[in-house]
């Protein structure tokens, strides 16, 4: 197990293993997203109050899940990079930031589009929406810090520190709807309780969430592989790959 972990930490091994995984995860993500979208848009029933406009949750909820998960992953990778000086962790943290920012932006936009017909407003300064906007700014801050330094190690350290500082925002986002009066409703899907929607609504939602996670994995692996090749371009194993092409 430890041996495997150490091997994964070496850029050469990671490049080889991720290359083998990538097609499978890509196929899984396409399958899940296609099945989920068709089920969600054509077969799931309409809502008794919102009609068809509720169907945007099939994008909004997975995007919001990912926005938070990616942030935690980025912060953990940043911490590993800080403590163990692991090259691969730095690469992962750097590659997570723009992807997470995109998911956060998607969650905010789809939420606004849903909010206008349902609530009557595009945007409200309630705790959930505001903390999500702060998350977007944190991501953008990490992206900016990553490119503000010419030295890679300095960039990795500064952005890891920022992502660790911002980590406190994640529980705030999650519990904002319970701690304070907000316009945003509490979660419909939780790990501990029965979903607050019928099975033919939440099953496609879960499929979409799984599809989004696979899609994220694909994009992250692709970005990380390119970043690794660039950083390791002077090493023997990369030169071997180029020669073999």
């Amino acid at each position: 197990m430890w041996r495997w972990f150490h091997k994964l930490g070496s850029p050469k091994w990671f490049y080889a293993i991720s290359g083998r995984w990538l097609p499978w995860v890509a196929v899984a993500s396409i399958l899940l997203l296609v099945v989920g979208t068709v089920w969600a848009l054509l077969f799931a029933p309409a809502d008794y109050q919102q009609g068809n406009s509720y169907r945007i949750i099939y994008i909004h909820v997975p995007a919001a899940f990912l926005a938070q998960s990616v942030y935690v992953m980025m912060a953990v990778a940043g911490a590993i990079g800080l403590i163990w000086k692991m090259k691969l962790a730095d690469v992962m943290a750097k590659c997570c930031a723009p992807i997470g920012a995109s998911f956060t932006f998607l969650a905010l936009v789809t939420g606004a589009v849903w909010g206008k017909p349902t609530w009557g407003a595009w945007w409200v300064w309630d705790a959930r929406l505001t903390s999500m906007l702060v998350l977007l700014f944190l991501y953008l801050g990490v992206v900016a810090l990553q490119s503000a330094f010419t030295d890679r190690n300095q960039a990795a350290r500064a952005s890891a520190l920022l992502s660790l500082v911002g980590l406190v925002n994640i529980p705030i986002i999650k519990y904002s709807v319970e701690w304070w009066n907000t316009l945003h409703q509490p979660a419909s899907l939780t790990l501990t309780e029965k979903p607050a929607m019928p099975a033919d609504m939440w099953v496609p939602l879960l499929i979409m969430v799984a599809g989004f996670y696979c899609f994220f994995t694909v994009v992250l692996l692709m970005r990380a592989r390119v970043e690794l090749l660039d950083r390791e371009r002077r090493t023997g194993w990369v030169k071997d790959i180029i020669k073999a092409k």
Partner: protein
């Protein structure tokens, strides 16, 4: 673990813990200001400032909506099942506005009435198909009250 790495691990944990504590205390101190709206009980008890723009949230009382016949003026009451507040509004109401629905409204207190400039419908976390809602109504259960009770009202 290597002592230098252990030291760095402690620094990371210290940074995360310290910031969580600081932000936690800050949010706790600001608790009242982060709430999006005042509940009718808070308004009746005089916690909401007079004449300033505030938000009030609650359920629209059944049978309280009175629409003016020749203008967009509408009057209704909101409740948190303890106190009620009367709201006046002139404008277009959101699609989800109906009796028994949770709403958040922005306006100024004039005496004991809230003169609203904006009315937003609050949606709860319960989703169901129209057929199920109909079946529930037939069985004598209000679909709005089905499932978890809305905690804030």
């Amino acid at each position: 673990m290597h002592p230098i790495r252990r030291q760095r691990l402690f620094i990371v944990l210290f940074v995360v813990g310290g910031i969580s504590l600081a932000v936690g205390l800050g949010l706790f101190a600001l608790q009242e200001n982060i709430n999006l709206f005042y509940s009718p009980t808070q308004i009746v008890e005089g916690e909401a400032p007079d004449g300033q723009l505030i938000r009030a949230g609650g359920m629209v009382v059944d049978g309280s909506v009175k629409r003016d016949t020749d203008s967009l003026k509408v009057e209704f009451q909101i409740t948190d099942y303890a106190e009620t507040v009367t709201v006046e509004y002139e404008g277009i109401l959101p699609d989800l506005f109906r009796e028994g629905q949770g709403i958040v409204t922005q306006g100024r207190m004039a005496g004991d009435r809230l003169v609203a400039v904006e009315v937003l419908a609050k949606h709860d976390e319960n989703y169901m198909s129209p057929e199920v809602a109909e079946a529930l109504e037939k069985a004598g259960v209000d679909p709005q009250q089905h499932g978890k009770p809305a905690a804030d009202y």
